[in-house]
């Protein structure tokens, strides 16, 4: 780890007054500083900032510094969110990692994490060894010729399904951005991952009220039963009335460069009977547009099957 200065701002204004890297739970930042992937000269420990609180009275509002485990355990949090959180990391890491930090966590691509390797995300223009290299866990959707790394957050998949917004604050004021608009496809600039401007912080996550999302779930498929990142995951919420799907939300993770909403699958579900056959039919288009790499074509059938399984489990409430 390179030497750095650490300060502990007591207010948002103080945090915005000093350029530097924000540190909350540290599970991404300290990890990547040890690997020299991140080499900040100034680190700001923001844990004294007043960005706390979990409020389920009208949808869900979560202060960015709330910890993953506390949000997962909070009564009234939509099942898809608590299940996505509980499927993430380990209990120790969930005690540490903040909600804002979870949304900003970096990819687990091995080339990104290894400073001896080229990586367009870490060193723009240096190349992407994953495209011809070890890419079994990489993305099949939203990729570019410059980057095929997946977005690692389970929580973000659930939040994208529920149309969540993030409140951002910086020296120049506050703004609100839909999470689907917040994340950027890699395109030609995979180093630009999101809409956060220098010095800005996520202060709050807001999920609009959606009463039928109490019938929701999160299915995560991985190489082992626990404590692993997703090969494929699906967040599903279903509004089922009289055996028909009145409305649906579907988003997937582990297969795309950003949390991936499947609006075409949602359209196909609306008005369909809540049956396995109808779920299979709707999910058949889930992987449309996928571009598999040498070692991850298995993710195409895995994606459709994961969506079907999530729909079946979700339909059982």
């Amino acid at each position: 780890m390179r030497p750095f200065e650490l300060t502990t701002p007591a207010s948002l204004d103080a945090a915005f007054a000093t350029p530097g890297t924000f540190l909350a739970g540290g599970t991404t930042v300290v990890d990547l500083m040890k690997l020299n992937v991140l080499t900040p000269q100034q680190v700001l420990d923001i844990n004294d900032l007043p960005l706390r609180g979990i409020d389920t009275r009208d949808g869900l509002r979560v202060g960015a510094l709330e910890r993953m485990g506390d949000v997962a355990a909070h009564p009234g949090v939509y099942p898809v969110i608590s299940r996505a959180l509980l499927a993430s990391a380990s209990q120790q890491l969930r005690n540490m990692a903040s909600i804002g930090g979870n949304l900003l966590q970096r990819t687990r691509c091995g080339y990104f994490r290894d400073v001896a390797m080229p990586c367009n995300k870490r060193v723009p223009g240096s190349g992407c060894p994953a495209i011809t290299g070890a890419n079994r866990t990489h993305a099949i959707l939203g990729t570019s010729e410059h980057c095929v790394a997946t977005h690692a957050s389970d929580l973000a998949v659930a939040l994208v399904a529920l149309d969540a917004e993030v409140r951002l604050a910086g020296a120049h004021g506050t703004r609100t951005v839909r999470l689907t608009d917040f994340y950027r496809l890699p395109g030609e600039t995979p180093d630009v991952e999101h809409d956060l401007r220098p010095g800005e912080l996520i202060t709050e996550v807001v999920v609009p009220r959606l009463d039928w999302a109490q019938r929701s779930t999160y299915v995560k498929v991985r190489d082992r039963a626990s404590y692993e990142f997703a090969l494929c995951s699906a967040a599903v919420a279903l509004d089922i009335q009289d055996g028909q799907v009145a409305d649906a939300r579907v988003a997937v993770g582990g297969v795309a460069t950003v949390p991936w909403r499947l609006t075409a699958v949602e359209d196909a579900l609306r008005g369909a009977p809540a049956t396995v056959e109808a779920f299979e039919q709707a999910a058949a288009i889930a992987a449309d547009g996928a571009e598999p790499l040498s070692d991850n074509a298995f993710k195409i059938p895995l994606l459709t099957r994961t969506v079907v399984r999530a729909l079946i489990e979700g339909s059982r409430g």
Binding site: M1, R2, P3, F4, E5, L6, T8, L23, G26, T27, V30, D31, M33, K34, L35, V43, D45, N47, G69, A89, S90, Q91, Q92, L93, N95, M96, A225, S226, Y227
Partner: protein, 150 residues
């Protein structure tokens, strides 16, 4: 940076560089070597300690950012009287080489306190290279039962 840590009921004042982890502060500066350095990057759980009663990974925690009271495996026993979770690990032979054990015990204490039902899921952040998992689960189950009578 001058910091003051509260560890196992004692206040410890020390001066550390900003990048020193809680794990290194405990082991290298305070000779509290219960927490082990396995992977040193938040993947194995051998460094698990409690901060304000919550298990965290001391290898991903900067010592300068610790605000709460730290408990390591050294702080569990009452003199020579083992904590019920420690006794359960002995009774169930829940270790082979023992390197991961202090981290396992710290997570297991939380599992018992939270009365978790899915022990294997809760303990998945503590890796055991000897694969003593069946006996570790048995130890947690024993401690859950004994906890009711302690």
């Amino acid at each position: 940076m001058d910091i003051s840590l509260h560890i196992n009921g004692r206040a410890e004042d020390l001066s550390v560089e900003a990048g020193v982890t809680l794990l290194d502060a405990l082991r290298e500066r305070l000779s509290i070597t219960g927490p082990k350095k396995g992977c040193d990057r938040g993947q194995c759980g051998a460094c698990t300690v409690h901060v304000d009663g919550r298990p965290v990974l001391s290898c991903l925690t900067l010592a300068t950012t610790v605000r709460g009271a730290v408990t390591t495996v050294e702080g569990l026993s009452d003199g020579d009287r083992l904590h019920p979770v420690q006794q359960a690990f002995v009774d169930q032979d829940a270790l082979q080489c023992g390197f991961c054990t202090s981290g396992q015990v710290m997570s297991a204490v939380a599992a018992v306190e939270q009365d978790v039902t899915d022990v294997r899921e809760f303990m998945s952040g503590n890796i055991c290279r000897c694969a003593a998992y069946p006996n570790i689960v048995a130890a947690v189950e024993q401690a859950r039962r004994s906890d009711a009578t302690v």
